[in-house]
């Protein structure tokens, strides 16, 4: 931003006294045209909280609530950063759940399931099979 005009000025104004450009005034431009509100990943984080079973989803929801609060306070950069973190935690949650399911299937196939599952299998065999 600051150095945008410098190269041209230096090339053209050889020998003249170079006055430094005025410092960029950021606040008014930001207030005039606020950036688009980033997606807050709220429903996605709720979905992973429900389905992925690992409380990473809660972290995602906390960041999702921050996105809108920051945005309406005018802290657009923080809002964007919270949106990125909400997104990150949604994907961490999905990844962890996928990993867990794969691990579970491997344990199932190799017969290393935890004890309580064997109880269910036994009950099932003695009771009603379908």
């Amino acid at each position: 931003m600051e150095n945008q005009n410098n190269p041209d000025q230096q090339d053209n104004s050889y020998g003249k006294i170079h006055t430094p450009p005025p410092p960029p005034i950021q606040e008014p431009t930001v207030n005039d045209v606020p950036p688009l509100k980033p997606s807050n990943w709220l429903w996605q984080s709720i979905l992973v909280t429900i389905l992925c079973c690992i409380p990473f989803g809660i972290v995602a929801i906390i960041y999702a609530t921050k996105v809108d609060s920051f945005y309406f306070r005018g802290q657009y950069e923080e809002a964007e950063r919270s949106a990125q973190k909400a997104k990150m935690w949604v994907f961490i949650s999905i990844g962890a759940a996928l990993l867990y399911v794969i691990l579970w299937i491997i344990m199932f196939l190799t017969g290393n399931l935890p004890e309580y599952m064997e109880n269910i299998i036994e009950n099932n065999a003695s009771g009603y099979n379908f």
Binding site: W43, T49, C53, I58, I105, P114, M117, I120, N124
Partner: protein, 127 residues
């Protein structure tokens, strides 16, 4: 992202969802050891906000809403909300009903949902 890649990812996700729904319809998670148990419950002995979702989905697919509510009431009540979110984001709902989006996915609703989830989490372990 390239448009073809996006469509491919979407198609793969839809196929996965259909396959998962078929599995959840055919097998009962309460009887089958194939369904993974919640790691949070295994580790701590307390239920997380998502515990019971698999059984609830199975019950819902068999139109047994009462049982689904008993397994995980929050999930059943959150499903319409999630469908609304999908509609808003992918099916053009944002342009057609911007006010609905602002109301349900805005600042206060996000905080309200966080409070509801925490309350549900604590409550289901106390009762």
């Amino acid at each position: 992202m390239h448009k073809g890649v996006k469509i491919g990812i979407g198609a793969a996700i839809i196929l996965l969802i259909i396959a998962a729904l078929y599995i959840f319809y055919t097998f009962n998670p309460e009887m089958q050891p194939l369904f993974p148990k919640c790691p949070f419950l295994l580790a701590t002995g307390y239920e997380c906000p998502g515990c019971g979702s698999q059984r609830a989905i199975h019950s819902l697919l068999h139109f047994n809403v009462g049982a689904a509510l008993r397994y995980n009431a929050f999930m059943v009540l959150a499903l319409p909300y999630i469908f609304l979110g999908i509609y808003q984001e992918y099916l053009g709902g944002k342009k057609r009903h911007p006010k609905i989006g602002k109301f349900f996915f805005g600042r206060w609703s996000a905080i309200a949902i966080l409070l509801i989830i925490v309350a549900f989490w604590v409550g289901r372990n106390l009762i």
